[in-house]
């Protein structure tokens, strides 16, 4: 199978235009570290951003960075760190979970809207993504947004590109708003809470004026208790003060520890990258998004009929659940739960035969699917870009 690695936008445009003319179905990717995600699709050739690399603009005092889409995330982070800045949304790294190798690209961060624990405070990747350039399915070079963070000029195609999994266009350049890396991070760990108590504690912390930037709960294996994590970041004076206030606010939950330094950072990284579920080998992994206070009830319903393991991020609103890879890997149970409690479930990790036999992304009502089909056709009328990766026929 041919793999195209365009060196610039013009190159990409020619490749895609030709594919559109011939009806060649293209697999759209960066370095392929997320290849085992989504619906398995059959394509005739590949187009990869791996040769489109390099930072094209970085203005630390304007809080903005642009990079070609194939630039490794690592390089973007390194360049930002040298000026004391970071990507605010803390993009997750799927490699450990999926068992893949290679360097994840900044384009994929945009295309998959990858965020991490700080999403509750700083927004998702889509909230920091302020500009894109891409080649649509007709081979046309299109831009939307730009390099300034306040911009309401025209329809916001930037948002459509974020999380579209390469089905609308081949991203060539992305521009993100960045933020200063905080001087100090401290984490309050509460031990021994069950899921409901934990989400209640997280809700109190998130409802406080202390700008919590991480709120996770990891149940113990025996499920009788767990570790509840609340993160503060900021200037030293501020974190010290806020941590004291937070302890006072949450004093009825006893058994509190303060976690700091490298260990605490590693812990948040394991929350971000779902390392807490990765050691379970062949189990399927689901990502469930719901209203935070409904998380524990949703999980309880799922756990009644499935051998499930789970933990919570985003104050309870994001639940990572692993299930056995038998039958539908728990799809019918999970989808029944999301229908009952609201939200949606995505099958993130499972063998290809399971992913091709069911809806990897939450099925949407007919009216929304009609809009989805229309939008797909408006970017990619021949249906050549990552066909079927998100939904059948999209």
């Amino acid at each position: 199978m041919t793999t195209h690695t365009p060196r610039d936008e013009q190159d990409a445009s020619i490749i895609i235009r030709e594919a559109a003319d011939k009806g060649t179905l293209l697999n759209v990717s960066g370095n392929g570290t997320k290849a085992p995600m989504g619906r398995p699709n059959q394509t005739d050739a590949s187009i990869s951003s791996s040769a489109l690399t390099g930072i094209t603009l970085y203005e630390p005092s304007e809080l903005v960075i642009s990079a070609r889409s194939g630039t490794p995330v690592l390089e973007v982070m390194r360049i930002l760190a040298a000026k004391g800045q970071e990507l605010p949304f803390e993009p997750m790294d799927y490699r450990a979970l999926l068992g893949t190798k290679g360097e994840p690209t900044i384009g994929a961060v945009a295309a998959l809207n990858l965020s991490g624990p700080r999403r509750i405070m700083a927004g998702a990747a889509r909230d920091s993504l302020i500009g894109v350039r891409f080649v649509n399915g007709r081979g046309e070079v299109v831009k939307s947004g730009g390099r300034v963070m306040k911009n309401v000029t025209g329809l916001d195609l930037v948002k459509l590109m974020a999380g579209s999994w390469g089905t609308l266009g081949f991203l060539t350049e992305v521009t993100f708003k960045v933020l200063p890396k905080q001087e100090r991070m401290a984490t309050l760990a509460i031990r021994g809470l069950d899921d409901r108590q934990a989400i209640e504690a997280l809700s109190m912390a998130l409802g406080s004026p202390f700008d919590v930037t991480g709120a996770a709960h990891v149940p113990d294996r025996d499920r009788r208790g767990g570790t509840t994590l609340i993160r503060l970041e900021g200037f030293r004076v501020s974190v010290d003060y806020r941590m004291n206030e937070l302890k006072r606010l949450l004093k009825r939950f006893r058994f509190m520890d303060l976690l700091e330094g490298v260990g605490a950072e590693a812990l948040w990284q394991s929350v971000r990258d779902v390392a807490l579920l990765t050691d379970q080998g062949e189990r399927a992994v689901w990502r469930v998004s719901t209203a935070p206070m409904k998380g524990p009830d949703l999980v309880a319903q799922v756990a009644q009929s499935l051998d499930a393991q789970w933990f919570y991020d985003w104050g309870g609103g994001l639940i990572w659940i692993s299930t056995p890879t038998k039958g539908d890997a728990g799809a019918s149970v999970l989808r029944e739960a999301t229908r009952a409690f609201g939200g949606h479930a995505t099958l993130v990790r499972a063998p290809a035969e399971i992913r091709s036999s069911l809806d990897v992304f939450e099925p949407q009502p007919d009216a929304l699917m009609t809009l989805t089909r229309g939008i797909k056709a408006s970017f990619d009328p021949a249906g050549i870009l990552n066909p079927g990766r998100m939904y059948a026929g999209i």
Partner: protein
């Protein structure tokens, strides 16, 4: 009056009686406005120099009524101009003679507040401030705060993706919106998003936000509510040069401090606001920054100490950290009265371009030159942290030709914003005002892609069709 409206469709005008009767069967009689006198209240919005009398105005009370009206208009080929409170500064809600106005202002209830989950579900006609007021008793607020927040509706905020003075920290509407109930042109009602933080599939919520009423009518919204900070305090810095003020802004952000607000005023703006509000602004400086930080008293002290240290190398002529609630209120009173105070001494148009903040001194000098070349004056107040400019180009309506000159100057300023890497509009929207300038920021391919997406929702250009896209070069159905 240089912006054209499309020629009204004579066949629709001829069917006015029949259309009004049809609408009358869908809503209670008091919800349908037909008489010329009453329709006049809807002929313009915040861009008052343009006026168009609509065919009729409907003010539905429920999502079902909105759906019935949309379905009727879809079936009968009648254009629909959605409207919130009509505060748009870019003419986003100005009607057309062959269109009906569909106003959501009657649908203004809070439906559900969930403090534990930090969300509120509201009807879309509620005012922006109304949401904050409904959650204030628990110490919460709704973050985006456009200066029209007393009057403007969340429906309009969603349509324009409105910002405000505090978006450097809290983001704009799109970053604070979790879900909408959207009525499509054919009357279909769809739910997008909900109380969770992200949605499956394409980011339709992100697309709807800022779509200026061209894709559908939002009747309900789920928004994020946040716990307010313990306190906030501004400091004021006056500089001898525009360059110093610009460099100080960059230095604050470069030092890792994101103030909750970072506002810039130039000399004319300072003079105008001080004369009106007696805020204690320095009159001998060329530029002034208002920097506000949030937190506990100790945190605020720490942060302001840092900011003062950063500002010192730029030789501020005035440095004043607010010492009391009254002083804070006075500092903000001046800034917040900028538009009103300017309106007392001149007619003005308010521009809204955004520029990369590094270009600030260059752009401000150029704006001055541009405006002078038309023989007019300008006052600049804007959000310095994010480069969102609000030059107020002043003129006198009674002098023939001055308004046209002001419009031309405004156009030149917006082109300048694009030229230096910025955009035409940071938070007000395109509307009719910037419609014909879109080709400066976007090429034909960019615009066609946007129009094709628009066409998915409204292939026949019935929803707010005079706006956003230049009349020339439109994609037909």
């Amino acid at each position: 009056m240089t912006i054209a409206f499309p020629k009204p469709d004579e066949t629709v005008l001829a069917r006015r009686k029949e259309i009004v009767e049809g609408l009358g069967r869908l809503v209670a009689s008091e919800a349908l406005i037909v008489s010329e006198d009453e329709r006049r209240a809807f002929e313009t919005d915040g861009l008052t120099s343009y006026r168009q009398m609509p065919l009729a105005v409907v003010l539905p009370s429920t999502t079902e009524e909105v759906a019935a009206i949309m379905r009727f208009c879809h079936e009968h080929g009648v254009k629909v101009v959605p409207r919130g409170a009509g505060t748009s500064l870019c003419g986003g809600a100005i009607p057309q003679e062959d269109a009906i106005v569909l106003g959501v202002a009657k649908m203004n209830r809070v439906l559900d507040v969930n403090f534990e989950g930090r969300t509120a579900r509201v009807q879309s006609g509620i005012t922006n401030l109304g949401i904050s007021q409904a959650v204030a008793h628990e110490g919460f607020f709704y973050a985006p705060d456009p200066s029209s927040q007393l009057a403007c509706t969340i429906a309009g905020n969603i349509a324009m993706n409105s910002g405000g003075a505090h978006c450097l920290k809290y983001g704009v509407t799109t970053n604070n919106l979790l879900g909408v109930t959207l009525v499509l042109l054919d009357g279909t009602v769809v739910e997008i998003g909900g109380e969770h933080l992200d949605s499956p599939g394409y980011d339709l919520l992100g697309l709807i936000c800022g779509s200026e009423g061209q894709l559908g009518v939002v009747t309900e919204a789920v928004v994020r509510i946040l716990r307010a900070a313990e306190g906030a305090r501004p400091a004021l810095f006056g500089f001898s040069t525009v360059e110093d003020a610009g460099a100080c802004t960059a230095a604050i952000i470069g030092a890792g401090i994101i103030p909750v607000a970072l506002e810039y005023m130039d000399k004319p703006a300072i003079q105008i606001c001080e004369a009106f509000a007696h805020a204690g602004y320095p009159l001998d400086v060329e530029a002034m920054l208002i920097v506000e930080v949030e937190g506990s008293d100790a945190e605020i002290d720490d942060m302001l100490r840092r900011i003062v240290a950063i500002a010192e190398p730029f030789r501020p002529k005035t440095m004043k950290v607010s010492q009391s609630e009254a002083e804070s209120a006075a500092i903000w009173k001046g800034r917040k009265s900028a538009f009103g105070a300017t309106g007392r001494i001149a007619d003005y148009i308010c521009m809204d371009g955004t520029i990369p903040t590094g270009q600030l001194p260059y752009v401000l000098n150029r704006i001055d030159e541009i405006v002078k070349s038309y023989g007019l004056g300008v006052a600049n107040v804007f959000h310095a942290g994010d480069g969102n400019l609000h030059p107020l180009v002043m003129f006198n309506t009674n002098v023939p030709g001055e308004m046209e000159k002001a419009e031309k100057a405004g156009e030149d300023i917006l082109k300048l914003c694009v030229e230096v890497g910025g955009c035409l509009t940071g938070e007000h929207g395109v509307g009719i005002e910037k419609r014909d300038l879109m080709t400066y920021q976007f090429n034909a391919t960019d615009l066609e892609q946007q129009m094709r997406v628009r066409g998915v929702f409204d292939p026949r250009w019935l929803l707010n069709p005079a706006k956003v896209f230049p009349l020339e070069g439109r994609l037909a159905a």
